[in-house]
């Protein structure tokens, strides 16, 4: 993409005009193209991008693989279970927690469920929650930030106090205490509970993450808007009688994509680990529906005795968090090379 497509400046005959040849040599490039060029030069960021893409592919593919029966997250039938699990201790039979060709990461103690299948499906659910939560956070934060920054005055101070209020909530305590109540309310207003309550419980986590996550986004956006609104093209739009809506989303928003993209890639990994932490506290999608958080929680006691069982979900979470973090850092460097790290 760093070289313009050949037909961009080409004439209708496809024969490059002399003007076009000159243009190709001093090719003008969009900011995104420039950013991509910078990004590609950063090896670490590229590795992070590949790892992150692998996780995204896994997230998309694993429910399909489960549906067609390639992956099975269920407890095996008793006859098979007894070949996987010691009936006296419940521990997996075989080396490294029962690692074999059919169970590449071993099996879960006590049930014989395939750990590989559970982790892959866990990636899907954890990433879905983190992704939805991050998108919602960005949307709420951006809208409120733009409105506050552009309007100023009463609206600005109202949003400012709302931010203070939200930040002052003892969020962890609140989300624990409210979990049962809000989940019930969500069911009451018609949110489908889904298999084993996964939809409504997952939605609760998404709402909690967004509710407590939007203030920093709003502050960031407000700061950006404060400088943008003094630009001439905004004045021009006002003079032309554009609607507020148009100014917010057609004039100002397009100039915020870069910081938003960076913030989004950094938010995603924090939400992945937040989901894991919430699972540990008993909030969110309940077992046996696997998320990275509750697979890890189930493995907590086994750090000494079944290290493979404990470390694999931990490594999955770490890999997702690190790759998306590096991706975010790389995106920031590429999009805004002048900003300090």
């Amino acid at each position: 993409m760093s070289i313009a497509p050949p037909d961009v400046e080409g004439g209708p005959t496809g024969i490059p005009s002399s003007d076009a040849v000159v243009a190709a040599e001093v090719k003008s490039q969009s900011p995104l193209q420039l950013a991509w060029k910078r990004f590609r030069k950063d090896k670490l960021s590229m590795i992070a991008l590949v790892v992150a893409l692998v996780f995204v592919v896994v997230a998309v593919a694993s429910p399909i693989l489960v549906a067609v029966g390639v992956l099975d997250t269920r407890v095996p039938p008793s006859t098979e279970q007894f070949t996987l699990i010691d009936q006296i201790t419940g521990q997996p039979l075989g080396a490294l927690g029962g690692v074999s060709w059919s169970h590449p990461l071993g099996v879960e103690p006590g049930t014989g469920r395939d750990l590989f299948a559970r982790l892959l499906l866990g990636v899907t659910l954890s990433l879905s929650i983190a992704l939805t939560g991050a998108l919602l956070t960005i949307v709420i934060g951006t809208v409120l930030g733009i409105v506050a920054g552009f309007s100023g005055g009463l609206v600005d101070s109202f949003v400012g106090r709302l931010i203070d209020l939200t930040l002052s909530f003892p969020s962890t305590l609140m989300l624990l205490a409210l979990s049962a109540v809000v989940v019930d309310r969500l069911s009451d207003i018609g949110v489908p509970s889904g298999p084993n309550g996964a939809v409504v419980n997952g939605l609760y986590v998404v709402l909690v993450l967004a509710f407590f996550g939007w203030p920093p986004v709003a502050r960031l956006m407000r700061g950006q808007v404060l400088s943008l609104r003094e630009r001439e093209y905004v004045d021009a739009a006002i003079l032309m009688g554009s609607s507020r809506f148009r100014i917010y989303f057609k004039e100002i928003l397009p100039n915020l994509w870069a910081p938003l993209l960076v913030y989004f890639t950094l938010l995603l990994p924090t939400y992945v680990s937040a989901e894991a932490a919430l699972s540990y506290l008993g909030v969110g999608i309940k077992p046996p529906t696997p998320t990275l958080g509750n697979v890890l929680q189930g493995a907590l006691g086994y750090i000494e005795t079944q290290p493979v069982y404990f470390y694999t979900p931990a490594i999955f979470i770490a890999a997702i968090v690190i790759s998306f973090n590096l991706l975010g850092d790389g995106a920031r460097d590429a999009l805004d090379p002048k900003s300090a790290r």
Binding site: T89, G110, N196, P287, P288
Partner: protein, 591 residues
């Protein structure tokens, strides 16, 4: 009558009882040198006990009460009997024979009691000689006063209150007894007629037959003597005025525990067959650590922990360490607790659906999820096999251990309900229960149900939640241990709808089961003055309940307990509800 025993089973903190001791696999002794499997019912050899030393008792949950009339936890009932609170009768110490362990022997009384023909009147004569820790003799009046305290239901809370229903005292309009306990004195003359002292002989008059009354005396502490001049009501909750071999040294700390030392007034010759050997000089109770920590300390076996015992079972994740480092210091027995499922009869009204549930229940995978044979074993009845009178239900009443998905599917299709049939399954949430419940869910789902797992916060009031009659759970987990070794403390308290069902609560009948036929059988069983005849009725009732799918059997909890390397004469049996018997325990290096 439930909180203690039930609560402990829930906390997985209770210990043993050798259900299958009589018919257990004839395996040889425990593995030597620390390595190897832990064998069921393999106890260390008894040795000549050494006197002296300081025994350390590690507990997770704090002692709820020291006051005999308020104790209701299995471990504390046994410990109080062995250490400081004698009763008319007791269970023999140190035996591994189920029948012997379940047969009361004398303690303060000279014989195991005489009753009239229909078991409505019981008399016991007290021995000369037993004294309190201040040297005064234990009198008939003390025993009578102890019994009277249970009637003060606003002060003496938490303990078993069977006696209120049995003693021949008229009830007030609201159904409570007209006797309000010794503190108000209201109705005292009624009580004095129901329980009489004639010299050294105490006589109880009941309003209905109580054939297994001696078992209740030996099991519970509610019938123990109490000295009136030592009674400060609620203030006495954590005080001890001993008539046994140990007395409390200083005060009891509700958070950290306390220390018991020898009672100088204790005369072993007043005990029966030296039942309380009382070998250690002191017994220190240390409470508050969690199960993992306690068992890690016992595995490591260093310092004072070499003198330690516990009732707290380890986490399944600790089994490999136990096998490699502490197998020779571990014992494994079947506990007196059984767990089971009840369908909610308010919601699952179609009998075919309930039968399908029972048919699809994979008990073996459930037991495996809880930790395998070290933690649990599949059961075929709600009655623990260690309870006298237990008989396996006839074959076709209970589904195969692995469940029969095809048969369940057929039943579900016959039921005419639209499939998948939604089921909300409520259980106490913990990693091991999550795994076990997931195993149940997978077979249920395969049979045509769609199960939502509703794991309740284990630190919250689990039973309060499931006791709500309007609960939206369809399938509910419960655990139970007999209050004394008799089926009359298992089936009637759990399935008598008249006893349990009120507008605010379903009592122990979590499935809101209401059957006149079952109630009639309960009346018939409780009215029997002959224990064998009663047991026949209980078998009939149990078969009826299974046929009606009033409950689905799950598993018998097992107690895997570790001990320090210096501990000798370690015995767990039905005598002490499967907990370590402090009557015979000793320390190798007693100094």
């Amino acid at each position: 009558m439930f909180r203690t025993r039930k609560a402990l089973a829930l906390a997985a903190s209770a210990v043993l009882a050798v259900g299958l001791a009589g018919c257990g696999e004839g395996s040889s002794g425990g593995g030597g040198g620390g390595g190897g499997d832990i064998e069921l019912n393999a106890m260390p050899e008894r040795t000549d006990p050494t006197q002296g030393g300081e025994l350390l008792y590690l507990r997770t949950s704090p002692v709820e009460h020291l006051d005999p009339q308020r104790i209701y936890t299995g471990v504390d009932l046994s410990n109080a009997s062995r250490m400081y609170s004698r009763s008319l009768l007791q269970f023999p110490s140190g035996t591994r024979d189920v029948d012997e362990a379940n047969t009361p022997i004398t303690d303060l009384a000279t014989d195991t009691g005489t009753s009239n023909d229909d078991a409505t009147q019981w008399s016991f004569t007290l021995k000369d000689g037993p004294t309190w820790q201040d040297g005064q003799p234990v009198t008939c009046e003390d025993v009578k006063y102890g019994v009277s305290r249970t009637f003060a239901q606003d002060v003496i809370t938490g303990g078993p209150n069977y006696i209120i229903g049995y003693l021949d005292i008229p009830t007030a309009a609201d159904g409570s007894s007209q006797y309000k306990g010794p503190y108000t004195g209201e109705g005292q003359d009624l009580f004095d007629q129901a329980v009489t002292c004639d010299g050294n002989t105490i006589t109880y008059n009941f309003n209905k037959p109580w054939a297994d009354f001696p078992l209740a005396i030996a099991s519970l502490r509610a019938f123990d003597p109490y000295r009136e001049d030592q009674d400060q009501g609620d203030e006495s909750e954590f005080t001890v005025f001993s008539n046994g071999p140990y007395m409390l040294d200083g005060d009891w700390n509700q958070d950290t525990g306390g220390t018991f030392v020898r009672n100088p007034e204790w005369d072993p010759s007043t005990d029966t067959d030296n039942n309380r050997e009382a070998n250690p000089d002191t017994i220190v109770f240390e409470q508050g650590a969690d199960a993992t920590t306690i068992n890690n300390r016992l595995i490591d076996d260093s310092g004072d922990d070499q003198n330690a015992v516990t009732y707290t079972v380890p986490e399944p994740s600790q089994y490999p360490r136990i096998e490699s480092q502490a197998a020779d210091r571990a014992t494994l027995v079947d506990s007196p607790f059984a767990s089971y499922l009840v369908p909610n009869f308010n919601r699952v009204t179609n009998p075919k659906v309930r039968q399908a549930l029972a048919m699809a229940t994979n008990r073996s995978a459930w037991a495996l999820g809880l930790g395998g044979g070290n933690a649990s074993t599949a059961a075929d009845s709600i009655i623990n096999p260690s309870v006298p009178g237990y008989e396996a239900p006839s074959g076709d009443l209970v589904a195969p251990e692995e469940g029969d998905v095809d048969a369940a599917k057929a039943l579900l299709e016959e039921s005419g309900e639209s499939l998948p049939y939604p089921i909300k399954f409520t259980f106490p949430q913990r990693p091991s229960y999550d795994r076990a419940a997931a195993a149940l869910k997978d077979t249920y789902d395969a049979a045509g149900f769609e199960v939502e797992l509703d794991g309740l916060d284990p630190t919250g009031p689990y039973y309060d939640t499931i006791q709500k009659p309007d609960s939206d759970s369809d399938l509910i987990w419960g655990g139970w241990g007999a209050d004394w070794p008799s089926i009359s403390t298992v089936l009637p308290p759990l399935f008598d709808s008249r006893l349990n069902l009120t507008e605010a609560s379903n009592g122990q009948d979590y499935g809101n089961y209401d059957s006149d036929q079952a109630n009639d059988l309960i009346d018939q069983g409780l009215a029997s003055s002959d224990l064998d005849e009663a047991n026949q009725t209980w078998q009939e009732l149990n078969d009826f309940l299974l046929q009606d799918t009033a409950y689905i059997p799950l598993d018998v909890t097992r107690f895997l307990v570790l001990r320090g390397s210096n501990v000798e004469n370690f015995v767990q049996s039905e005598s002490t509800s499967g907990y370590v018997d402090l009557g015979v325990i000793s320390l190798a290096d007693g100094s």
